[in-house]
Structure formats: structure tokens, C-alpha cells
């Protein structure tokens, strides 16, 4: 199969598995009182769409190892529910204004209701994991719950690290710090966990799961850094406010590079900007930072790092999947690595 054909396969399968997951997910969201204050807001983000990369990766990994789709569907639904729950809380913590092309949930319904909707969604994600026991048996269902516990802990640690940097206005960060944070905050839920639970289902828990940490880390880190890049360079289709990460003072690889490369005066100015509360950060200052990133080559530097990480993901993919029969699902997982660079949203 040609590289072009594999690249076309990725959006096609994201649609296919995304539709299946979305359809199943709707059955887990109650349509009853208090609809206006809980179930309505709670259903907002799942109804807005999304890439559906996480559930698709889970289903595809399970199928690559031979499991029928219905065995991984509940876990895929749980992943998507939890992902949306964390997005609601992330948007509040980051004071974000746009999500998937529309105002964030807390801007529409207020912070208290949004926090509660996020809590509700994360609790709803437990139900499909419990339902797993009738689909794949209590032992595998329990193993997946254990994996879920680890993923949730890693994600919370990653989020805490990033929020802590902003709280303490930490500016002396290195690339290593960023990758450690992204490993926990993004990669576990985004790619490590979907692959691992998919492999557990597909092999009946008869596989060494450590290689999936490496593969998921490189894929997830490349994905996250590309996401950060899109925030600075993408058009309206991206669905979030442009330069929003700079407004939020997010410690991206570009910002860390700029802090490292800039002069002492510039670094002081950057530190002062980052110390301000979001509402006092001006567009002029954001534009200045964006311009400095171009001057010091922070964008190009980050692009190169992303390409290296994606190459490592491809290498780890071959180490894991080479011995398995060729399939559409296997090609999809491989194609995701290059799709990271082609996506615009």
C-alpha cells in the first residue's frame, strides 16, 4: 500500500471508528432531568465532534491483534468520555475560550456547572468499563480498570506539573522537562493507554505491554507538539484561538526554546509577561513573543524535534507490529504517525 493510500486511510478510519464510538457513547449519556444543568452541558463536547483518535487507536490495536470490534467498543467509549471530561476541566484551568470552534463550556454555562459536568462525564466513563465484564469477561475487565487507574494517575500528575509551572512562574525549563510533562499529561490518555488496553483485549492479556509505552510516548509527544505548533500557525479550521497558548502562558517547546535562546533583557520581559494574570496579557505582547519565536527559530527547531519523535514512533511501531498479519487496522496505526503532520485541526 502506498504512502498516499495509507494517509487517505487514516481520516477514513477515524470517521468509521469515530461514528461507531459516538453512536455507542450516546447510549451512556442520560437524557433526563436535570438536563439543563447537567446532562445537556455534559453532552456538549462529545456532540461537537473531535478527531476520535483515541478510541480509534484502541479499536484498531485490538483488531490488529485479532479481537472483534464489539470487544473493544466499551473501552473506546470510556476513553472518549474521560477525554471529554478532562477537556472541560482543562479549559477551565487554562482559561481557554474556544473548543472545537465554539465557546468553551464554562463560558457558556459558568464555571460551577462546567466543573460539575466534567465530574459527571468522568464518572459516566466508569459505566462502559463495568459493562466490559459481560463482553470480555471479569478478568480482562479488571485488568482494563487497573490500566485506567494508572492512566488517570499519570494524566493528573502531568496536568499538575504544567499548572504548577504556571503557578510558580517557572521559566528555567529544559526540553526534557517538557517531554516528561507531555508523557504524563498527554501521551498516557492520548496514545499509550488506548494501545495498551487494545493489546490487552486483542491478546487476552498475553503480551508484554512495555513497548507500547515507548510507541505511545513518541506518537503522543509528536501529536502534542504538532498541536502546539498548529496553535501558532494554523488557520480558523484549527478550532482554538490563534496564539491562545501564548495568552495562556503555556510552557510549550517553542516557548522553552525562546526562553533559552533570548537575551537577558528579553528573558526578563518574557518572565514579566508570564507572571501576569491572563486578562492583563495584551495582544501586543503576545505578538512580540510570536515574533521573537520566528527570529530565534523556535518554530523550526520544534518542527525538527517533532519529526525526530515521529521517526522514533515509526521505529517503535515496527518493533511491535512487524510480526502481525498485514491489515487495514495495522496500516491505520502506522498511518497515524504521518497523519500527525498532515492534519489541520
Amino acid at each position: 500500500m502506498s504512502t498516499r493510500a495509507i494517509a487517505d486511510l487514516v481520516p477514513e478510519m477515524l470517521r468509521e471508528y469515530g461514528d461507531i464510538t459516538r453512536h455507542a457513547l450516546k447510549t451512556y449519556i442520560p437524557h433526563r432531568s436535570p438536563y439543563r444543568y447537567l446532562y445537556g452541558p455534559l453532552a456538549e463536547y462529545p456532540n461537537r465532534g473531535g478527531k476520535m483518535m483515541r478510541p480509534s487507536l484502541c479499536i484498531a490495536t485490538a483488531r490488529t491483534f485479532g479481537a472483534p470490534i464489539e470487544e473493544s467498543l466499551q473501552t473506546a467509549v470510556a476513553i472518549e468520555l474521560l477525554h471529554n471530561a478532562l477537556l472541560i476541566h482543562d479549559d477551565i484551568e487554562d482559561q481557554s475560550e474556544e473548543r472545537r470552534g465554539r465557546p468553551t463550556l464554562h463560558l457558556l454555562h459558568g464555571v460551577p456547572l462546567a466543573v460539575n459536568a466534567g465530574d459527571g462525564l468522568s464518572l459516566l466513563s466508569l459505566r462502559p468499563l463495568i459493562d466490559n465484564q459481560t463482553k470480555i469477561g471479569p478478568h480482562l475487565a479488571l485488568r482494563i480498570l487497573e490500566e485506567t487507574e494508572q492512566m488517570a494517575r499519570e494524566s493528573a500528575e502531568g496536568q499538575a506539573i504544567e499548572l504548577g509551572w504556571r503557578w510558580d512562574n517557572v521559566v528555567d525549563l529544559e526540553d526534557r522537562d517538557y517531554l516528561e510533562m507531555v508523557h504524563k499529561k498527554t501521551c498516557w490518555l492520548g496514545s499509550i493507554y488506548p494501545c495498551r488496553v487494545g493489546a490487552i483485549i486483542g491478546t487476552r492479556n498475553d503480551i508484554d505491554l512495555e513497548p507500547f509505552i515507548r510507541f505511545g510516548f513518541f506518537l503522543g509527544a509528536a501529536f502534542q507538539i504538532q498541536d502546539d505548533l498548529l496553535n501558532l500557525v494554523a488557520d480558523k479550521r484549527y478550532g482554538k484561538e490563534r496564539n491562545g497558548d501564548i495568552f495562556e502562558g503555556k510552557r510549550t517547546l517553542m516557548l522553552i526554546h525562546l526562553l533559552r535562546e533570548s537575551t537577558e533583557d528579553e528573558r526578563d520581559r518574557l518572565a514579566r509577561f508570564l507572571k501576569l494574570p491572563r486578562e492583563r496579557r495584551t495582544s501586543n505582547e503576545v505578538s512580540w513573543i510570536r515574533n521573537r519565536m520566528d527570529v530565534y527559530g523556535s518554530i523550526d527547531y520544534t518542527r525538527q524535534i517533532t519529526h525526530g519523535l515521529a521517526g522514533a514512533a515509526l521505529h517503535e511501531f515496527f518493533l511491535i507490529f512487524t510480526g502481525l498479519p498485514d491489515s487495514r487496522d495495522k496500516q491505520f496505526i502506522e498511518g497515524l504517525i504521518t497523519w500527525v503532520f498532515e492534519r489541520t485541526t
Binding site: G66, P68, Q133, G137, P138, H139, R143, E146, E147, Q150, D175, R176, L179, E180, H183, K184, R196, I200, R204, N205, I207, D208, L209, E210, P211, I213, R214, F217, F218, A221, Y301, Q304, I305, H307, G308, L309, G311, A312, H315, E316, L319
Partner: protein, 257 residues
């Protein structure tokens, strides 16, 4: 005087440089990446980029990014292992998904198998409890025997019984999903099932299929043996009356892994 008659060609043969092993810089991207333990024979946690990152600044950034990535993830994996050890006594399993091995692990697996079986039994009991005829058969065994007979077999014409219940026994050495479609409205003691063939004639037929006669109180039994390595596909064959050679029905079996 001894004369060495070995010809001396040193003067006539030209000295040549050995062929160079390569004629251009090595820019093989694969050399950046970690080699798996299977390839290098080294432990996986010792795996680091194999080096040779090229000479340009772009190559250096990519290579150092990859090297840093491997350092970070290997350290994170080690931290995960330490965390797992720390909690291993508190019932938390290894988050890297590897069994600890040994008797405790073996015992744990056995216990889990029993708990799985227990859950299956509970499901079966729940299903049985919701069947009023089954409950009736347990409470009134005498009445149930005649009722069971009536449900199991209904005489249609001499020597022919309408099949209403059929026991199915599948013998399969490896995990396989099996779907059976048995269409044979009437049963005689002389029914046999011919080998089941797949559409693809290269695939071996399923031959060990036995239809065992039932009796007044025992339903007929269909026994299917699926050999190891039988390719997944749909296999179909005819059910015939051995005496008359007349087809009486069909049997289809779909195998998927």
C-alpha cells in the same frame, strides 16, 4: 644448493587499495533509533539511539531530540517499575503489565480463572432461574420427564422425528469463534454429515462431524471436531440419509479467529 622454485609474483602484481566500505556519508535514519533487545541482544532499558546523526545542524537537532526522547521515556519506565514494586504488596499489579512470575503469580492466575468461572456459573444460574419450564422440571421431575420428551422430539412419520433440541459439542484445540447453522427439519437414525467445504478449495475440509442418534429422553447430538490450524472461513456440507442417499438438510460452520 637448493633453489626455491616458488614463483615470485611480487614484482609483477600491482598493489591495489581495498574497496572502501562506503563511498558517501551514512545518513541512515534508522541508525538514530533504539534497537530492540531482540536485535541487539541487549536489555531494552539499555537501548539508546545508535548514534551517527549526520553532520548538519538540522540532523543534530533531530538526533538530539530522539536521544532525549529515549532518555526521558526509559527513565519514566524505570519510575513506573519502582512505583509498581513499591505497591506490589498492596495488591497493585505491575503497571507495565508483566507478571511477577513464580508461585504467587501462578496461584493468582488460578484464582482469577476460578473467579471467571464463578461469574459464568452465576450467569447460567440466573438464566436458568428465569426459565419457568426448567424450574418446573426441577420441582416436578416426573411431570417434567414427559414434558421434556414432548418438547424434545415430536414424531412426524414412521421412523422420522422432528428435531427441536440438538446438543452441540465442539472440539477445538485453540480459541476460535464458531457459528453454526444446522438446517435439517427431520431426523432419522441414519443421518450422516458429509465433509464441509470452504468456498476456497485450497482450504482443507472439515471431516470429523458426527451426528449421534438421540432416544426418547435424549436429544440427538452433533459433534464437530475442528483441527488445529483450520483456516477461518465458512464451511458448508450436506446432511444425507445414509440408506437412501437423499439430502435431508445442510450444515454450515463459520470459523473466525
Amino acid at each position: 644448493m637448493t633453489i626455491d622454485e616458488t614463483p615470485d609474483n611480487s614484482a609483477s602484481e600491482r598493489l591495489r587499495r581495498p574497496e572502501p566500505q562506503r563511498t558517501e556519508p551514512t545518513r541512515n535514519f534508522q541508525t538514530y533509533w533504539r534497537q530492540g533487545s531482540a536485535e541487539t541482544g541487549q536489555p531494552a532499558d539499555a537501548a539508546m539511539p545508535a548514534g551517527n546523526p549526520g553532520s548538519g545542524p538540522r540532523d543534530n537537532v533531530i538526533a538530539s531530540g530522539v536521544e532525549l526522547g529515549y532518555r526521558v521515556i526509559d527513565e519514566q519506565i524505570k519510575q513506573g517499575q519502582r512505583f509498581a514494586k513499591q505497591f506490589s504488596g498492596a495488591g497493585v499489579t505491575d503497571p507495565l503489565g508483566r507478571g511477577s512470575g513464580g508461585a504467587a503469580d501462578f496461584l493468582g492466575r488460578i484464582l482469577r480463572s476460578y473467579s471467571d468461572m464463578g461469574a459464568l456459573w452465576m450467569d447460567l444460574l440466573r438464566a436458568a432461574a428465569s426459565d419457568p419450564m426448567l424450574i418446573n422440571s426441577v420441582l416436578n421431575p416426573t411431570r417434567a420427564a414427559s414434558g421434556g420428551e414432548a418438547r424434545t422430539a415430536k414424531h412426524t412419520r414412521e421412523g422420522t422425528v422432528e428435531i427441536q433440541n440438538l446438543y452441540i459439542e465442539i472440539v477445538c484445540p485453540e480459541p476460535t469463534e464458531v457459528a453454526i447453522d444446522f438446517r435439517c427439519p427431520a431426523y432419522t437414525p441414519d443421518l450422516v454429515v458429509l465433509p464441509l467445504h470452504a468456498m476456497d478449495s485450497d482450504k482443507p475440509a472439515l471431516k470429523e462431524i458426527t451426528l449421534m442418534p438421540g432416544s426418547k429422553n435424549v436429544s440427538p447430538r452433533l459433534r464437530v471436531v475442528i483441527p488445529a490450524g483450520q483456516p477461518p472461513d465458512s464451511y458448508t456440507g450436506t446432511v444425507v440419509d445414509a440408506n437412501s442417499g437423499e439430502p435431508q438438510g445442510t450444515l454450515s460452520i463459520r470459523l473466525s479467529q
